[in-house]
């Protein structure tokens, strides 16, 4: 499971760049939008995105 916290998000876009199937960015303020909280088949990318997120706004719960 993935959790995101748009309040912490800095809108860097690293998540959407890492896996556009799981993450997107809000049209208006650029903050993270979680497209697929389960990320089945995308676990590796989701962990990578959580690691790369500069603002610590993504959590992967194993």
């Amino acid at each position: 499971m993935i959790e995101v916290d748009p309040d912490r998000c800095a809108g860097s876009g690293m998540c959407a760049l890492t896996d556009p199937a799981v993450f997107d960015q809000d049209e208006v303020d650029g903050t993270v939008v979680l497209l697929d909280p389960t990320a089945v088949g995308h676990e590796k990318e989701a962990r990578e995105a959580a690691h790369l997120c500069p603002a610590g706004a993504i959590r992967v719960i194993e």
Binding site: A10, G11, S12, G13, M14, A16, L17, T18, P20, D24, Q25, D26, E27, V28, D29, G30, T31, E48, H51, L52, P54, A55, G56
Partner: protein
């Protein structure tokens, strides 16, 4: 050409594409080490990748200018204390103040928006390469390509008339030159500010489909705030990418095997851009943060009020994070580098910069299959005297 500096921060490089040797030595023995600042302040220097991330992600470290000490002299002088941030200078604010400004901009810099700009960037790149061929067989790549491409892109995005670029380009150069007097730098900066302020006034009467107009019309900001935000975007938007294009080209020309692979498979360019960001780390001064309270970091206690200088070049060559860090390898997984920073201040324009670099490198090496240096590499004037590293000029030839 290069001028003599008197940095307390190690800045002497033994080879043009590598960070100062002393930084690597420190990273091995003391990844957080004491640094004597020119104003007498005793602060810290961080050289490892993990501590860099720790500092930049920690909100107990402030980015406010009035709390910071400069790790180098500028123009041979001790840098005087900075005044607090002006309204809208979001880079140098903390917490809620920072996120309020930043969020007004992040929607403009999403991955999707930047991807939509790709065709226009391709066109700008193609036009400059055509002009370069026309001007050839020998040109300075910085003046012909590396500087004008990102300048034109950020001008179009912000709504700055490109014909008016000469003044702010010159003033940006002046304001990043470390051997200049502090007063000169301040004056150049004030001229850019006056230029943007005037532009904001003009946009009120003559709005366009651009970011400055968008910020004005958001109704959230006064003109001073819009001016300062625009100023940051304008300066950061052309100087950094321009230097990555210049020194990135040099680095690839110096690694012909890597370049041949890139030419054979242009889809490698995305990864090559990450690797160039890691390998070259053009931010050679800072970022700097100041502790808002006493805290533990890497086995030492950083006291409230102490400034910590981060070395991006050292962090990006950390062998604990990257295998064979001193080798340029366009195949390696280079993401996770801190070339765009880390934490809430991580570069806002990074997705734009990525696209500009991808398009530019790809087209440059496809269009000019025999691009080569016109002077020995050892004679390329490096920007050791500038806050942002790179090449002053890159004379190239092609047939």
């Amino acid at each position: 050409m290069t001028e003599t500096l008197h940095p307390e921060l190690p800045m002497e490089r033994s080879s043009p594409l590598d960070p100062p040797t002393r930084l690597g030595e420190l990273r091995e023995t003391e990844p957080i080490s004491r640094l004597q600042f020119p104003d007498g302040h005793l602060g810290w220097l961080v050289t490892s990748h993990s501590l860099t991330r720790a500092v930049l992600a920690d909100q107990r470290f402030s980015n406010r200018p009035e709390l910071q000490h400069s790790p180098i002299r500028i123009g041979g002088q001790v840098v005087p204390p900075s005044p607090p941030s002006e309204p809208g200078m979001f880079i140098t604010t903390d917490g809620a103040e920072h996120s309020r400004y930043r969020k007004l901009l992040t929607g403009q810099f999403t991955v999707r928006r930047m991807n939509q700009l790709t065709p226009r960037i391709e066109q700008i790149v193609a036009n400059h390469l055509a002009a370069m061929r026309e001007a050839g067989p020998g040109v300075d790549l910085v003046q012909a390509f590396a500087l004008p491409v990102p300048s034109m892109v950020i001008c179009e995005l912000l709504g700055v008339p490109y014909e008016e670029r000469e003044g702010f380009q010159r003033d940006t150069g002046t304001s990043f030159k470390l051997s200049n007097d502090f007063e000169e730098i301040q004056a150049a900066f004030n001229r850019i500010k006056a230029f943007v302020a005037d532009l904001v006034r003009r946009k009120h009467d003559d709005p366009g489909d651009d970011m400055l107009t968008g910020l004005i019309q958001s109704g959230e900001l006064n003109d001073e705030e819009v001016t300062n935000m625009g100023l940051l975007l304008l300066v950061a938007g052309h100087e950094t990418t321009a230097n990555m294009l210049g020194i990135g080209t040099l680095a690839l020309l110096q690694h012909p095997d890597q370049l041949a692979e890139l030419r054979a498979d242009p889809s490698l360019v995305d990864n090559a851009v990450e690797e160039l960001m890691r390998y070259l780390s053009i931010i050679q001064l800072g970022p700097i943060r100041t502790a808002l309270e006493d805290l533990e970091l890497g086995g030492v206690t950083v006291k409230e009020g102490e400034s910590v200088v981060i070395s991006v070049p050292a962090a990006n060559r950390d062998p604990n994070r990257f295998d064979r860090p001193d080798e340029l390898d366009i195949h390696r997984p280079a993401t996770g580098h801190v070339g765009f920073g880390h934490g809430v201040h991580q570069c806002l324009g990074q997705q734009l910069a990525r696209i500009e670099m991808r398009v530019a490198f790809r087209a440059l090496f496809t269009e000019f299959p025999d691009l080569r240096l016109a002077i020995p590499a050892s004679e390329v004037p490096m920007r050791t005297d500038m806050g942002i590293y790179g090449v002053h000029r890159l004379p190239v030839e092609f047939s």
